[in-house]
Symmetry: C2
Subunit: 300 residues, 2 copies
Amino acid sequence: MKLVVVGSVALDSVETPSGRHDDILGGSATYFSVYAGFFTPVNLVAVVGKDFPEEHLQFLKSRKINLDGLTVADGKTFRWSGKYLKGNLNEAITLDTQLNVFATFKPVIPKTFLDADLLFLANIDPEIQLNVLSQMQNVKFCACDTMNLWIQIKKEQLTKLIQKVDLLFLNDGEARQLSGEHNIVKAARGIQSMGAKRICIKRGEYGALLFQDSDVFHVPAYSLEEIEDPTGAGDTFAGGFMGTLARIGDLTPQTFRQALVQGSVMASFNVERFSLDRLKTLQESEILERFAAFKRMTQF
Amino acid sequence: MKLVVVGSVALDSVETPSGRHDDILGGSATYFSVYAGFFTPVNLVAVVGKDFPEEHLQFLKSRKINLDGLTVADGKTFRWSGKYLKGNLNEAITLDTQLNVFATFKPVIPKTFLDADLLFLANIDPEIQLNVLSQMQNVKFCACDTMNLWIQIKKEQLTKLIQKVDLLFLNDGEARQLSGEHNIVKAARGIQSMGAKRICIKRGEYGALLFQDSDVFHVPAYSLEEIEDPTGAGDTFAGGFMGTLARIGDLTPQTFRQALVQGSVMASFNVERFSLDRLKTLQESEILERFAAFKRMTQF
């Protein structure tokens, strides 16, 4: 199945207990594309500024990501700066956000992307997500991500979006905020009652839960001794998930489970190094081995 | 396999967001025995005071728990009083502890218990746990629990105990305290390097991890919408675990996994009501159904 992602390509400055790096490659669509790219070709829709380093473009091309939907606009690339404190790597503290060219981003899906079966709407303004979805009439399965800001200021549009997509990704804090329920099962049920078909609640080091009808599927996080940088873990997770749907090529409950585990596998690699550095040495055999480790870790 | 437990039988006063109950049946050995009792006969070693209500004794007898090792001493029964705050049911706040007859408890294992294969040393002073273990020469598998207090004031004796038992149960906070490591995998590895053969780290609503050599097995917590009272969840978990070892009758890795899931199943029932109230209506069919739900929740 053909996969399109719409989201941000950014330059991040990140500080974690393991160190600090400035202007490194980041962005939701970047993490998503590169990790989904292990399983399927990815068609990227995003915008960068003229200052976006050529080496990053070459890197994306080297991962066989179709950049026909990447606009290089006048101005500066979207920049995010954040840090994580020791003992709480689940939560990023945003220090600075410079939207730059992203502020006026109105994605137009290239004609050659319009026949896609799978669409991932990374975290952007839900109005833009709705607009993108309306451009894509052939999509069989659409997943979206969101964030606390949109829950706070654009809840109505977000609710409309939630009712249209097939899967909503969000973290536990966002699920609580959106539903007004502290208990995570009640939160999921609350969001289902808003019209969500499927919800994937990500819980960082505690793994993720997939809710569909009365079903719950649970995947743990891989047990890591060292986490260098959790940035992009959620988008990497979604990349592993959607990439797996594309590769397997169906939308059965069994495939969703495999995809969720693959998402957790990919996220576990990504957090081992800053930015997308871990990916640069990641081998197919390591992915297979870690997927097998998830089986050993959970099957009884 | 024959199972013995040594620990506390208590009267608890508990306040949770769901309500408040005074002088209800509690104690680590009580929760353990009653839930293990679903799978195997249990031989209990504990002490109560002359004030211990006859109805509770009758209840324990009705669960086919062998009370030959239960001493009724002059004085008052051990009392614990605690509360849980909304949004943090993983952590009990102790309001009051009255050791009473438990202060001078020096357990002597009845002769008829000495041929037991399985021993659970519930949370008491590690010196007493060591003494009990030295009385039981035929034990094939011994598990113990502990608490923050003993890690703080009796670390040397606790370390000795850890090296002698086959499985150490503790929660994530205790694992961090004992190892000095925040990361939970590093914490487990640190405790292994102290000489522990196997470690089960309980993480409340996030499930539990079993570490053995380089292996990790993960079981999630059952997704509950309502938790009335988390008191005794850890001992119930251990009860389900050890009861399952006894019923299956071997000590293979596969049995440990089944036992861990059964521990999680039993704990998930226990927290649904105050004290041991949920147990009073719990049916075998419900246990089987929830065990099957854990399979559905985790298998891919």
